[in-house]
């Protein structure tokens, strides 16, 4: 039996190269591990039936020495990222039987690299939620405490990595959907700079905010996957050539702490205590800690819950039951729309469509949508200014550890507060990473996370700091 627990991408690659085990044996070990845990955790919506066949292909590449670092590496993919010929439901009944007619760019890149796709992971419907409870196919449970949520919306992808059901995974992040579940499950999650990773083939939610990113056990694995999926893509006009970030010099990195933003009502004492302990760890690793001001950051959540639903309401208009997905026939064409959308779209999705339509309506457009866009720029200016003095801005990833299943599902606003620290990076467009930083010890050990943000295109700083924090060796 292969010791899956301690495997990383680099270690696995070396084992495969040396022939300690084959990609097929590795894939079979993962399938076995998933079989043992998935019935409880429900992190996968589907385990692909051709996993072993994919691994055979990888073994062939390895034996012919045409493979690379990712050849034979078993990954899980969030259910809103298209893989040609496979179902992609975005956690919705609307797309329950939708079979993707093309590969997303990230999947194409990973296929070319020889990755083995294990299956598609559970998520909040159309990525709308922070707990995976909004999935039309039932909630995923937190591997650290089965009575609690894994976070969301990429809850299945984070839980799969945490429970050892995948070596790493892909998620998507619109307001924290990679980082918050990574924090709740005790793994690493990266939301890259807006425009760095192509969204071609990602089922859209909030197009000015969405990014695909990796979830993994280590920062090094996160970095390897990020490098594999990034890059300009003609099929996503928002992508930019990733700046070949100037290599870090030996100088000391500075971390800015927006105290006024962090010390608010609603933050759990354990999260705050753990955050301050984490800063001490950075200090002893030679980092300088500085207080900074981000006067408008406190409006991020309000701005996010204006701009995001506005974009949701237009993105969801494509689900008309005519061209793909669910179709329920009525007497007239408009009946088709109403019946299909009634049967296909869950409550949170419909709530956000209505909210978005409201903030975009002619009477309220200036008061809400336009105002939110204006403040979004003020927030951006705050961050741009701060990065003139610091390399990193740190906050807790989420204000609390994982909450109980059902605890917040009756109160959408309370659920939204879980995103208070993660939404600014999406509004501003900067990269942000969540690192496991310890536990809240109670009846169970609940993981906590620290979030680091850096300037546009400076993922390299996040990787360096992340490795220092977690004690990973930096490879030169």
């Amino acid at each position: 039996m292969i010791d899956l627990k301690n495997l990383t991408i680099s270690k696995t690659h070396n084992h495969l190269k040396k022939g300690d085990f084959s990609a097929v044996e590795l894939a079979q070990s993962y399938l076995e591990a998933i079989k043992n845990t998935d019935s409880e955790i429900k992190d996968y919506l589907e385990i692909f039936t051709d996993v072993v066949k994919q691994a055979e292909e990888a073994d062939k590449k390895i034996s012919e020495k045409t493979g690379g670092l990712l050849t034979g590496i078993p990954l899980a993919v969030k259910d809103n990222i298209l893989i040609k010929g496979r179902k992609s439901s975005a956690g919705s009944k609307m797309l329950a039987d939708y079979v993707a007619p093309y590969d997303s760019t990230v999947v194409k890149k990973l296929k070319d690299a020889g990755v083995v796709f294990l299956g598609r992971t559970n998520m909040d419907e159309f990525a709308m939620g922070g707990s995976t409870e909004n999935s039309a196919f039932g909630p995923t449970k937190n591997p650290h405490d089965l009575s609690r949520v894994p976070g969301g919306s990429s809850g299945g992808s984070a839980a799969a990595v945490a429970e050892g059901g995948a070596l790493a995974s892909l998620g998507s992040d619109t307001g924290g959907s990679i980082r918050q579940p990574a924090s709740f499950c005790g793994v690493v999650g990266l939301k890259p700079t807006y425009g760095t990773v192509s969204r071609y083939g990602l089922i859209a939610m909030g197009s000015s905010l969405d990014q695909i990113g990796p979830i993994a056990k280590t920062v090094s694995d996160t970095e390897i996957l990020f490098n594999a999926i990034k890059g300009r893509d003609a099929m996503d006009a928002t992508t930019i050539e990733s700046l070949d970030a100037s290599r870090l010099t030996g100088s000391k990195l500075t971390i800015g702490i927006p105290k006024d933003f962090i010390y608010t009502d609603g933050i759990d004492e354990s999260a705050l205590k753990n955050f301050n302990e984490s800063l001490e760890r950075f200090k002893s690793a030679g980092y300088e800690i500085k207080n900074i001001e981000l006067p408008n950051a406190k409006y991020s959540l309000a701005v996010y819950y204006t701009i995001m639903p506005a974009e949701v309401s237009s993105n969801m208009a494509r689900f008309d039951g005519l061209r793909f997905g669910l179709h329920i026939s009525g007497d007239k064409l408009t009946d088709d729309y109403f019946l299909t959308r009634e049967a296909g779209l869950g409550k949170e999705v419909r709530r956000r469509i209505l909210l978005g339509a409201f903030v975009l309506s002619s009477g309220y457009y200036d008061a809400y949508y336009n105002k939110a866009k204006f403040i979004k720029n003020l927030i951006k200016n705050d961050y741009v200014k701060a990065f003139k003095n610091v390399d990193i801005i740190a906050t807790p990833t989420a204000p609390t550890p994982a909450f109980k299943i059902g605890e917040k599902s009756g109160n959408p606003l309370e659920m939204y507060l879980s995103d208070m620290f993660t939404t600014p990076a999406n509004l501003v467009g900067i990269p942000a990473i969540s690192l496991p930083s310890g536990f809240k010890i109670g009846e169970t050990k609940l993981p906590l996370g620290i979030q680091l943000m850096s300037n546009f295109g400076r993922e390299d700083i996040l990787f360096k700091a992340g490795k220092d924090f977690l004690g990973e060796m930096t490879k030169i």
């Binding site: 819950y305 997905g325 419909r350 336009n370």
Partner: protein
């Protein structure tokens, strides 16, 4: 503040059917979300698109109007997703 008739109108426009019971729930939920969002009204200033765009350094990007794919290359795959079709067309009900 948002009222029941707004919810009904928005639902109609969004092609979403909501039951009477659900209308009340949505009114309460959306009302409380807007109550939270209302703090943005405290911020002085108004959106001036020209200013913000130049400040942002954002620009529109268009795909090059060239190199079309071979006609029909994706037709079969895309039609494969269509719930009702006829002779290579998406079939919809009469509009008028």
């Amino acid at each position: 503040m948002i009222e029941l008739k707004n919810i009904e109108k928005l639902a109609e426009l969004s092609r979403i059917r909501v039951s009477d019971e659900e209308k009340e729930v949505f009114l309460k939920d959306i009302g409380s979300i807007l109550g939270f969002v209302d703090q943005i009204k405290d911020v002085a200033g108004k959106a001036d698109m020209t200013m913000t765009q130049s400040e942002n350094g954002l620009k529109n990007i268009f795909r090059e109007d060239a190199h079309p794919h071979i006609s029909g290359q994706f037709t079969e795959d895309l039609l494969g997703c269509v719930p009702e079709k006829e002779n290579g067309y998406v079939k919809v009900k009469k509009i008028l």
